[in-house]
């Protein structure tokens, strides 16, 4: 009985809490001019801590333009799960930033409102790859506000110097440098195989360069099969790196247990366990927060090497896309604002941010490394991360385990391609 009473008390508190949350009003205002736009907007995204402060600064910029709109931002550790539950329960926030187009697609037809009113602004300010990644069934649903350049390779400056190698420009140079690094006593490649997405990024960087952007778009839409010769060729190329088990710290079995943060830190510890790690511009944040390495003297970055006759425009990236569940002048004003270079420069100045808007002034970036990353994703050859664009059951799950199996057994290119195709076919059904 005592417990029942306690339980009732707790539940009553919970109920009160829910009531409080539900009673928030969100009125929609009308009018055309800035001060005429009234109302309140709720938004969720993954940004916490310093990122939350930076985003709040961006929102303050909005507040000075639209003083009558109240924006309430709430950080969610896992916005996608939070949103699935909120949509399933019928009470989504007005705006949400989601980490992948594949996730956005999952909400199309479940209350998502098209952003076509902002289409002309976005196409004037963004590389076409960004627009395509946010478009589903001919309508624009996602505005990418925060970008990431994933065509970067981070290396230990001292390890490269000791081995006497320079950052490679081509794939062949990369393989040659890797051999030399090994001979110098440092394993070349750090592979974070416990997190499948590091493997999909590596594959996509290779595929985009080797098969070209058109084939890349087709594979993204599953218009060609994963058993296609181009996929097998890319897997064979990938195996030149991940199959070089002797050149990966602890070999394949260790690589399968190495998560992304460890794959970064083990390159920049002293002595280093590996010479380089393939991943996006966000690696810099991991290095500076978890190791003592300093930019340029201890760590540096080079562009993902070109393969064959690939274009140097080919850049892979990702980003957080803002979606809208309620269309009124206030939410539309905020969407347009977030797409503008004014808004994005506020965060770019603070660092730790790569703006997808190509008209953001490069001089606002605090350092050369982020500036270069931002210029990469503004290029016309930019393509959005393929796995992020595919249905989550494949691009964020089955493809991970398929490529992890390929890492385990890099000789079986045909088997890997067949398994990828089987899983992709299931998810695209």
């Amino acid at each position: 009985m005592r417990y029942t009473l306690a339980l009732i008390a707790v539940l009553a508190l919970l109920a009160a809490g829910c009531g409080g949350g539900g009673s928030k009003k969100s009125s929609s205002g009308g009018g055309g001019g800035n001060s005429n736009v009234k109302g309140s907007v709720t938004m969720i995204a993954v940004w916490t801590g310093a990122e939350q402060a930076a985003f709040q600064a961006v929102l303050n910029g909005f507040k000075s333009k639209y003083p009558s709109v109240k924006v309430t931002y709430q950080a969610q550790k896992d916005p996608a799960s939070f949103l699935s539950t909120a949509v399933e329960g019928g009470k989504p926030p007005d705006l949400a930033a989601l980490p992948a187009p594949g996730i956005i697609k999952g909400f199309v037809g479940r209350g998502l409102k098209p952003l076509d009113f902002a289409k002309s602004t976005i196409s004037a300010n963004y590389a076409p790859g960004w627009l395509n990644a946010g478009t589903f069934d001919g309508k624009l649903y996602g505005l990418f506000f925060k970008g990431a350049n994933k065509s970067t390779v981070w290396y230990n400056v001292k390890a490269f110097k000791d081995a006497g190698v320079t950052p490679p420009k081509t794939w062949d140079d990369l393989l040659k440098d890797a051999k030399t690094l090994k001979a110098s006593g440092v394993d070349a490649y750090s592979i974070g195989g416990s997190d499948g997405w590091t493997l999909t990024d590596l594959f996509e960087n290779i595929y985009l360069r080797q098969a070209g952007p058109d084939m890349y778009d087709k594979l993204t839409q599953h218009q060609i099969k994963w058993t296609d010769a181009s996929v097998k060729q890319a897997l064979t190329t990938m195996a030149q790196v991940i199959g070089d088990a002797n050149n990966i710290p602890g070999g394949t079995s260790q690589a399968l247990q190495t998560d992304f943060p460890t794959s970064v830190t083990q390159v920049f510890t002293s002595p280093p366990k590996a010479g380089m790690v393939f991943e996006g511009d966000f690696v810099a944040g991991v290095i500076t927060s978890s190791t003592k390495a300093k930019a340029k003297t201890d760590f540096d970055v080079f562009d993902f090497p070109q393969i064959g006759s690939s274009s140097s425009d080919a850049v892979l990236g990702g980003g957080d896309g803002v979606v809208m569940f309620k269309d009124n002048p206030a939410t539309e004003a905020l969407i347009k604002y977030l797409a503008s270079s004014d808004a994005q420069e506020i965060w770019a100045k603070r660092g730790g941010y790569t703006a997808p808007n190509k008209n953001v002034d490069p001089s606002v970036y605090p350092d050369a490394i982020t500036r270069a990353a931002a210029q990469g994703i503004a290029k016309s050859g930019f393509r959005f991360d393929m796995s992020d664009q595919m249905p989550a059951a494949f691009g964020s799950d089955a493809e991970f385990s398929d490529l992890q199996n390929f890492l385990k057994n890099p000789k079986d290119v045909n088997g890997a391609a067949a398994q990828l195709e089987a899983d992709a076919a299931k998810a695209f059904k």
Partner: protein
């Protein structure tokens, strides 16, 4: 609870003819007042979600607009990952409740007999105070394969290195194709005659691993009646020319070099000097093989792959046992305390050994308590989620998965609430028989 009389006698002064009826109404009202809130909350938080989930499981990804019949249940039994989850759940249910009960029983009996029993109890019970998620995170760190990161492999390494010492140049490789693996070491694939020289260049040696006191390597001078040579780190920045002794390339001192004759029989062995040079003097005519001994390259213990696909379930079970044994010990300990001492005494007086007392008297008397522990564990395991989520790395999650994890993954990670609900319903169906048993027991006790 419902039959508790509020007031057995009519209040003084109440009119007699009305009292029976009034009494009845009051009883009903008070019963409702007591049961009402509980029923309300049960309806809102248990009955409604259950019905919702079961209904939802017959609909597809996009919500109640897409009726799919039993398709989600077909997927449930055809998807190979969910089938692994079902298989793993079966393994867990068969092994773990018995293991937990057995451990708990042993600890409970032990604590009755040892000194410092309270301290022992605290140690065994303490893990229960840690959330299962934290337990998982902790064990995941301890299970790391690299002995420099994982505590368990570090302990194994400390022991194993005592028996097989790792060599001085564990990761080294031959610098040119002329050097081939042989007898566990590295051997020059061309034979050498007396008066000849042997160049044994090694690479893949991290600079800090070069033994202290190493000097610039020197190209060996031929000497009649002897075989001379050098073992050196055949690397300088940029790589240099493999197989050629160049400036900036250091000799490797203290390496054991072995000379074998044409029949692969060991003839001599020598240690290299500070500049990596060695010499076999007084060698008879013939062809010889020169090799670096196996012990130089002997790898230390590389670590057991606790989190790999084949061991992951065992590793998770161990972590779970660590966390749950204390619970079983306390419940069974309470049961033990209530066993009538005179029964045990009687058995002992009749000449039963301690083991016989335990098997024939203690365990049967404890049976109801043991059942409680078993049943609680079975239910706990059917809904076990945190251990999988926190211990299994992404690369082996498909080997480690359990039903409750699949329920989470399908619903929240893959956004397929239909399939997730089907998994949830399946778990419910598995739990029902156990619940029925439990309720029957409960009734008997009341």
């Amino acid at each position: 609870m419902t039959s508790t009389p509020i007031s057995a006698e009519p209040l003084p002064g109440a009119a007699a003819p009305h009292s029976a009826q009034q009494e009845k109404r009051r009883r009903t009202l008070s019963a409702l007042a007591f049961v009402g809130p509980a029923v309300f909350f049960l309806l809102v938080w248990t009955v409604y979600p259950t019905i919702y989930t079961i209904t939802r499981s017959f609909f597809g990804k996009s919500g109640f607009s897409s009726f799919v019949g039993i398709d989600n249940y077909k997927t449930l039994f055809s998807d190979h990952v969910i089938r692994t989850a079902i298989k793993n759940n079966f393994i867990w249910v068969v092994i773990v409740p018995f293991a937990v009960t057995f451990l708990g029983l042993i600890f409970a009996v032990l604590t009755e007999r040892i000194r410092w029993a309270t301290a022992f109890k605290v140690v065994v019970f303490a893990p229960l105070a840690i959330s299962l998620f934290a337990t998982g995170v902790m064990w995941r760190v301890m299970y790391q394969k690299d002995p420099s990161q994982g505590a368990i492999n570090a302990a194994v390494k400390a022991v194993s290195d005592e028996f097989s010492k790792p060599g001085t140049l564990t990761g080294a490789q031959g610098s040119s194709p002329k050097l081939v693996p042989a007898h566990g070491g590295i051997q020059l694939n061309q034979t050498v005659q007396p008066g000849g020289t042997a160049l044994l260049g090694l690479t893949a040696i991290p600079a800090p691993d070069v033994p202290a006191g190493a000097k610039q390597a020197v190209h060996p001078q031929p000497k009649s009646g002897a075989i001379t040579g050098v073992v050196w780190r055949d690397f300088k920045p940029g790589g240099g020319t493999p197989g050629k002794v160049e400036s900036q390339e250091l000799g490797l001192p203290g390496v054991t070099v072995v000379l074998r004759d044409a029949n692969d029989k060991k003839v001599q062995s020598a240690k290299t000097g500070a500049d990596g040079s060695f010499a076999f003097d007084g060698v008879g005519s013939g062809s010889y093989h020169v090799a670096i001994s196996k012990s130089t390259f002997a790898k230390g213990f590389a670590g057991i792959n606790w989190l790999g696909g084949s061991l992951i379930t065992l590793s998770m079970i161990i972590a779970y046992l660590w966390a749950s044994a204390g619970f079983a010990m306390v419940v069974i300990g309470a049961g033990l305390a209530s066993i009538p001492r005179d029964t045990l005494e009687a058995a002992r007086t009749d000449g039963a050994t301690e083991f016989q007392v335990f098997r024939r008297v203690t365990v049967p008397l404890l049976a109801p308590v043991l059942t409680v522990v078993l049943v609680t564990q079975v239910i706990g395991i059917l809904k076990l989620f945190d251990i999988v989520y926190s211990i299994a790395p992404g690369s082996t999650i498909n080997n480690a998965t359990l039903l409750a994890y699949e329920m989470y993954r399908r619903s929240f990670l893959q956004n397929d609430f239909g399939l997730g609900s089907a998994v949830a319903t399946f778990i419910l169906v598995l739990v029902i028989p156990i619940l029925v048993l439990r309720i029957r027991d409960f009734r008997r006790e009341v």
